[in-house]
């Protein structure tokens, strides 16, 4: 058991080293982050000024700015999408070798993504520092909320990595995942609450977001961070996240078994 874990840790460490080699892509991600939080702070300040009412949706401006910054921090953290390598492996046949190895391919891909995300975790240091310097990041609502946020963050990570894995595995059928990945990026932007909190959106829109996993990736941890979710509501949201992670993981297992079988047929 410990030995198996060591193997997956090896995958994660290799991914961390690989991603660290792409210094330019790290630089672009950081500048993108800095630009976004700089611009969005003025956009939200201006929006709040125009509303007159000090706390639209029960959220004051400093809380809203924290929500915005933590949202951008999360998208920096979740930027890797390392499972997408599966696409190339399927196309050039490398996948056949991977399947012969005595490790589970989905788990090794998850380990890979975890390693890449560990690098992004290191980026959080300067990113948080920048936000603090601009004076637009408050600490979590309470110690309890900080703990709940951490739990929610881990669940959000698991939800998004399984969603990515699911999309990556469509490569077994389509060989290309560019379109789906892009579609998911746009959907995340609009329906996850990463830029515009979902409570500002019209009722009908809100109902659509409840049927999709995107809110579990951004809206839930962010709402917990600023203290918009309290008590039973908070627990319910965490429960929903657990359900999404479980559902997506089950779906990944199902699609994986179909994909592996399909590949054998193709290779025969």
């Amino acid at each position: 058991m410990a030995e198996t874990l060591g193997v997956y840790l090896g995958f994660a460490r290799a991914a961390l080293r690989r991603e660290a080699a792409y210094r330019v892509s790290i630089l672009i991600a950081m500048v993108g982050f800095a630009t976004k939080i700089y611009v969005l702070q003025f956009v939200w300040t201006s929006l709040y000024r125009s509303s007159g009412n000090g706390t639209p949706g029960g959220i004051a401006l400093p809380q809203m700015l924290s929500y915005m910054v933590v949202g951008q921090l999360l998208s920096l953290l979740f930027r890797s999408n390392a499972t997408n390598h599966i696409r190339i492996k399927v196309r050039d046949g490398q996948i056949a070798i991977d399947l012969m190895r005595p490790v589970s391919l989905p788990f090794s891909l998850l380990a890979d993504d975890l390693g890449a995300t560990a690098l992004n975790l290191i980026l959080m240091g300067p990113a948080v520092g920048l936000a603090l310097m601009l004076g637009i990041l408050q600490s979590p609502f309470s110690t309890f909320h900080a703990l709940a946020f951490t739990a929610s963050l881990i669940l959000a990570y698991l939800a998004q990595v399984h969603l990515h894995l699911l999309i990556s595995m469509t490569a077994f059928w389509t060989l290309e995942t560019y379109g789906l990945n892009l579609a998911m990026q746009f959907a995340t932007l609009l329906l996850s609450g990463v830029i515009v909190p979902l409570w500002f959106l019209p009722e009908g829109f809100l109902r659509v977001t409840q049927l999709l996993p995107f809110a579990a990736i951004y809206s839930t941890p962010l709402s917990i961070y600023i203290g918009r979710l309290q008590g039973p509501e908070l627990l319910e949201a965490l429960g929903l996240q657990v359900a999404w992670v479980g559902g997506l993981a089950a779906l990944v297992a199902l699609v994986w078994s179909l994909a592996a079988r399909r590949l054998v047929v193709q290779g025969g």
Partner: protein
């Protein structure tokens, strides 16, 4: 040269029609991209009246005007971004041996054109100007033409300057991506919401405000706000674009004289 350029466009458009599905797919991506951008603006304004006093239709107009200028830029100057690649793999030397302006040759490499941005921007702008209720006159029509050309020239100059750097530095794609990231975030919103320092930078140093903000004030009959109040600024985009492009072109010529092949 004009004849050659028109011929390039004729051939490119004909070639493009051979790959209709490809164009169609890119158009779908483009529509999804703009839907996300506009959807976010719309979402923000659901509970709030305006950004910096600009209502949703006005912000949509700002966005569509950017899309229009950007569409022309992508179609005309898009290939300038490939200079880095030409320099790296040595194909750039080929342009220098022919008796034709190297920049012109770079802009007319016969390998596909980026026109889908413009195809989407035109209907988008048509809708936006309708919603914003622009009262068109001949003057405004001419201003629109000048603004779009000027905006494309401003974006084109930035790309040309960055690409010229590749004569000295081999890896430059990153700088280009950085500039585009910054540009895209700033042109979507009215300049007045930013602090004075940023307003100054984006008017004088990197004149992004001329791409959308200043001209939009004229089209939408908005009272000037912020640091720069002169209404005439809205008419200056073609001039600013020409000046920028002249400077960028001089820099390009300078780089061209210093160019040493990678030898590969």
């Amino acid at each position: 040269m004009l004849f050659l350029y028109l011929h390039f466009w004729r051939v490119s458009l004909l070639a493009m029609l051979q790959y209709r599905l490809n164009l169609f797919i890119w158009m779908i991506f483009g529509v999804a991209y703009h839907t996300a951008g506009i959807g976010l603006l719309w979402g923000m304004l659901q509970r709030f009246g305006s950004i910096g006093g600009w209502s949703f239709p006005e912000l949509l107009f700002l966005y569509a005007l950017w899309a229009l200028g950007h569409g022309v830029y992508a179609a005309v100057f898009g290939k300038v971004g490939q200079v880095t690649g030409h320099v790296r793999d040595g194909t750039f030397d080929r342009f220098l041996t022919r008796p034709l302006n190297p920049l012109f040759q770079v802009m007319t490499v016969p390998a596909g054109i980026t026109i889908d941005d413009l195809f989407i921007a035109i209907p988008l702008f048509a809708v936006a100007q309708r919603l914003a209720g622009v009262a068109w006159t001949i003057d405004l029509g001419l201003l629109l033409l000048g603004t779009v050309v000027g905006a494309a020239l401003i974006e084109g100059s930035v790309l040309l300057m960055v690409s010229t750097l590749s004569f000295w530095l081999i890896r430059i794609e990153a700088v280009r991506l950085l500039v585009e990231t910054v540009e895209l975030e700033f042109v979507r919103y009215p300049l007045g919401i930013f602090p004075r320092g940023a307003q100054l930078i984006f008017t004088v140093l990197l004149p992004l405000a001329f791409i959308t903000y200043f001209p939009s004030r004229v089209f939408l009959h908005r009272a000037p706000e912020g640091l720069f109040l002169m209404p005439t600024l809205g008419y200056l985009t073609p001039l600013v674009g020409s000046v920028c492009f002249t400077l960028a072109y001089l820099f390009w010529q300078h780089g061209l004289n210093r160019y040493q092949s990678t030898g590969s």
